[in-house]
Symmetry: C2
Subunit: 525 residues, 2 copies
């Protein structure tokens, strides 16, 4: 299907608005030739009304029926073929190898959630059978209702229109209204076509999925204010996520906002690790900081180590490698400008030394920023929270600590993060344990002798963390538990078997694992 530049609302294209915008190729700073039309407030309302109507149907659907839809979506995404890869590449500059891998991840997420639904244990069915003085009580998880998803720019497949938020919300049984990221509107429309086809092919109500284009922040504001929206998924900046959180909290009827926002992802390296693997760690660190031009929410942006000759050699080695590495293409002009402003502000701080980089790459039509290394002290980090600001690009900041106590004090002063990493040696296990568990308090995921970029899509993944990493530290936006953001438990008291959902009936017709009077088991009651 050709691209239209229009919104996709309840299975129809729509472009009632006057504001238009264009794709921009970040390698050449040239605009595409399709005008995309920002949605109007009336179109936003129409999409949400469609989602509400769809939910009245979908709330009757069995998990297996929703699983069929998720698998169909994966198939339809694959059917977009190479056009999807080339379109996304021209809008993001991320390159075909990366995008090919990311597409597999996106389709894999839909199939993984389908498998989760067919397994059924995710429903957390809990049964307390009737006992003297106690009624029969049975609970399981049910969908919240229509969900608003705000697409991210840095993962045009895995965290965008057909990304993890959409996959997990649909898996929960919730209709989805996506606010597309203006950085890749053509890619977004291709996904809307695939999702629309899947919805139609599986006989779901057309309002189960809608896509809203929007250049600025108006569309998102209208969307969150709609009474029919029951929850929000967001991946992006601290500023954007907090604005949505505040808007949702101010509603007459507040709703949860699951915003995955900024993170500097601290890495602590012990002297023993430096002595044993200093060169390997330097190479791994540079690869992690520059991966995807540094545009990962798990980018290691703060490296803490005790001051020593070895540490100074290590910093020099990383600085040299960073300076020598080619500057990658940034996603769009807004990110390039934001990165420049943030680095300029940090570099101007009196306690910061700029070791390499710190500027846009001259004589380049592409949006590029030089690979940047800065250095400060633990005392400075403790004194000024602004030094924990995320720099969204190929930038890292070394924090030299006077001694082990100074390092521990710096860790104590860290804000919330998605990840925290510790590089240490086996001989240090006894002395390092408390530091590792201190880091644990600051993050959603603790990594041993590795790097935080690379987020496995598995049940044990936790992609979340204390504020400002997210607005909801008890939830994850990656892995199967992401579905619980869009579910709530409902209990049934003394309800006849014939009226219970299949998952709670005595005979256990779905054959799922349930907690029955305290025991996990799969059989009948």
């Amino acid at each position: 299907m050709p691209l239209t530049g229009k919104n996709y609302i309840q299975g129809e294209t729509s472009a009632l608005g006057a504001e238009t915008f264009y794709s921009v190729d970040p390698r050449s700073n040239t605009a595409g030739d399709i005008a995309f039309t920002s949605a109007t407030e009336a179109e936003v309302a129409l999409a949400v009304a469609g989602a509400c109507a769809a939910f009245q149907q979908m709330r009757h659907y069995a998990p297996s029926r929703i699983a069929d839809l998720l698998e169909e979506i994966a198939t339809q995404i694959e059917a977009l073929g190479d056009a999807l890869l080339h379109t996304a590449d021209s809008e993001t500059g991320l390159g075909l190898p990366r995008l090919t891998g990311e597409r597999a991840r996106a389709t894999g997420q839909f199939r993984a959630f389908a498998a989760l639904l067919r397994d059924g244990a995710y429903l957390r069915a809990i049964i307390n059978t009737e006992a003297p003085g106690q009624p029969s009580l049975r609970q399981m998880q049910f969908p919240l209702g229509p969900v608003a998803v705000f697409a991210a720019s840095n993962f045009p497949f895995a965290f965008s229109v057909a990304g993890g938020d959409t996959a997990s919300a649909l898996a929960a049984g919730c209709p989805v209204v996506v606010k597309a990221h203006p950085g890749h509107p053509a890619t977004s429309e291709l996904f809307a076509q695939a999702l629309g086809k899947a919805v139609a092919a599986q006989g779901f109500p057309a309002g189960a999925f809608s896509l809203l284009q929007g250049k600025g922040i108006d569309v998102g504001g209208w969307l969150v204010a709609q009474d029919g929206i029951e929850a929000v998924g967001f991946t992006g900046s601290l500023r954007g996520g907090r604005a949505l959180y505040d808007a949702a909290a101010r509603r007459p009827r507040p709703i949860p906002v699951y915003a995955e926002m900024g993170s500097v992802n601290p890495v602590v390296i012990t002297q023993a690790a430096l002595a044993e693997r200093g060169q390997d760690i330097a190479a791994g660190l540079v690869a992690s900081v520059t991966m995807g031009s540094g545009q990962f929410c798990t980018n290691p942006g703060l490296i803490l180590l005790e001051d020593s000759a070895a540490s100074q050699d290590f910093i020099a080695a990383v600085t040299e490698k960073m300076g020598a590495a080619a500057a990658g293409v940034l996603l769009n002009e807004a990110i390039a400008r934001g990165l420049h402003a943030a680095v300029r502000q940090t570099a101007a701080h009196e306690d910061i030394s700029l070791l390499t980089g710190g500027s846009e790459v001259p004589d380049s039509a592409a949006f590029r920023f030089s690979n940047t290394v800065m250095q400060t002290t633990a005392a400075a980090i403790r004194a000024d929270d602004r030094l924990q600001t995320e720099h969204f690009g190929p930038v890292t900041l070394f924090v030299l600590c006077d001694d082990a106590a100074d390092l521990r004090a710096a860790v104590a002063a860290l804000e919330g993060n998605l990840t925290a990493t510790l590089h240490a040696e086996a001989a240090e296990l006894e002395t390092i344990s408390d530091l590792l568990h201190q880091l644990r308090e600051k993050a959603g995921r603790v990594i041993w002798n590795g790097f935080p970029t690379g987020v496995a899509v598995v049940a044990a993944m936790q992609h979340g963390g204390p504020y400002p990493a997210t607005t909801a530290p008890a939830t994850t936006s990656v892995g199967s538990n992401a579905i619980y953001r869009f579910l709530r438990p409902i209990a049934f008291q003394n309800v006849p078997d014939a009226l219970l959902p299949a998952a709670l009936q005595d005979a256990n017709p779905l054959g799922i694992t349930r907690q029955v009077d305290g025991q996990y088991r799969a059989g009948a009651v």
Copy 2:
């Protein structure tokens, strides 16, 4: 120990403030002779600092050690003996039989959480073993940190200083700072003594529990604003809960507020049920509405039924029984005044008929309000949300619907509730299913042929619901899942076995049920 009228902060009594207040016996409207001193902002800060310090110790504690504390607390509450019952009775007028039962419920909650901790499955340990291209990832639940608990007035044992919020937060491993309810300060101090003894006896840091007295809203405001507080548990009015929610959302670092607030707990009765069991339902309904003088968050305050001669007879019978039943004592002057104002406003609505009651009981020193029945139409409920206002007392509102469609439309217009109840007959199962599941969307718990008062403390209980019933519909404040309000998952990537918490180690030394590569099992990896 004699009562002091002081706050309990980190194991010491403290009364730095100038504001004092007294217990009031609601049966006689006479004040007690102990002056209770509201906490100052400095005392609030001290309590939170103590909680933060305590958490640095407690985050190392194994679940079994916390279970020891919970069991000790139950023992110490029992050791308060009859003095607790008589003190609470004189402050609440709830009567010794009810309070004796409620004490068993409160101690039972602590012991149930202790059992949950010893079982260990609540940790939701998830293990993904290393695989090609995938690291070892293991996650479990960890405590959030210091929790602020706001005590309720209507359950001085089960939802107050040593109620479900405190029990579940401590069970999670979180230190607790309680803002006592000014309606029963002496009872609150007795519990603080018991908790303090338990904390000391089990060698926990003194900051693990503090109690703050406070007459007005200042203490609570100071408490929620403290940066060290990580979550809030609240049971009370919509106005109070929303104020706390808003204050927490405005913090530089927002935190979750688990507020259990207002609910009218709709009850739908079919014509077949009326024909078959009309008299029994009328008797049960009157007992449920007047139980505890109607001061239950699950009080059935909205009764929907189709208009018919049978319905009118039913309403007449309920009205007669309500008018004939003795008016119970209300908890305190604030509740008596608030109830009077709310009923007066509702009764003055042009679409409301007052059938009985509607006024304070004259010539009574006690705080009493007459048992009240009002009537309106489905059209009126749909037209004006104010008719869904909770009346916290022995009050219920009948909603006459023109026909089945009108009833369904009224149900569609309902706001969120803790519970929804359906009285119907076995012969109606096929036709009633959709109505039951429509009610499900409006509540946290659906009751068949029963009454919503009475909340069993079991795993399958869901005591929560969509706003305005709560600010967090995915959570419960009763039952074992209440612990998840105060936990968050943390994942460990490639962390050596020796550094992992015992619950995640290969050998499974705790012998707990874990999800290992998709399977629930108790053995080693």
